[in-house]
Symmetry: none
Subunit: 85 residues, 4 copies
DNA sequence: CACTGGAAAATGCCGC
DNA sequence: GCGGCATTTTCCAGTG
């Protein structure tokens, strides 16, 4: 291990980790901004943002329910020795 | 315009908007998961997650401070124009 | 316990809780109104409301910064105890 | 007007205003904390906080409706030349 | 009166 | 498994 400067293996690792996180958070921020833009654009086309949000939330609920049903199916399939995947 | 089914221009627009939002939210969810993974991996390498989060937050805070300083500058310019104090 | 009417211990408790909350929310609303009044009065004395708000926010920010510094101190103490880096 | 130090009439006024606002905001903060405490205490007594919030919100809606009705009454009273207050 | 920004509430996550 | 905390979303006051 070199002691030149204040770097260390752990220090480099730390820097790498922090930068990876920051890059991902930037990405996330951009996606969030994109979503906001879509809502704004929809609003410009006469849609009510609040209602849109409700619709999206409801569809998400439905999807969750669907996934749950699928999980049930998998569970039962497994129980009878029929592994679907 | 066709009247087959229940489609309509507005309905198609709505569907498009909702689907765009859902795709973006999926993307966001994936990025969030990636961030979580990085934290988990770092933890596996001996880093403390809480400390990492703090470091990331602090670096963001610094950035915010720069922005705030700029805002102050603008404010003072305005205040001077008003001959406030 | 009396069974006259629909009251019950839980019902009375619920009523009490709700009323306490409502009284406090009224109080809060009054304080909010008072703050608004102070801003209005200050405006009448030639102060710019927006600037005043900024000043108040900045002073709060400074306080937050002090608290944040303390949190950092605690964190580092913890991190050293962990022999983190 | 004295020029000793950096004080000025406007400066003193500013300080006074800011301090009044800060005191009121502290008060508001305390009331908010009190409300939180009531919810926490209620939770300790077996009440569901989320449901409590819904109840409070609903009663508020009812009150608003009542106030609206009163406003209507006042309006009509005024229209027929009968000033209630 | 619509929009933006900041406070409050709901949700999800981590540690115990 | 749950309580506390951080994040996210929702809501409301202030602004132009």
């Amino acid at each position: 291990m070199t002691v030149v400067g204040h770097n260390s293996v752990a220090g480099d690792q730390l820097r790498t980790v922090v930068e990876r996180i920051e890059r991902l958070e930037d990405e996330k921020k951009n996606v969030t901004a994109d979503i906001k833009d879509v809502y704004a654009e929809a609003k410009g086309n006469g849609f009510d943002a609040k209602t849109l949000r409700k619709i999206v939330a409801l569809r998400k609920l439905d999807e969750d329910k669907r996934k749950e049903a699928q999980a049930m199916l998998d569970l039962y399939a497994h129980a009878i020795g029929l592994d679907l995947i």
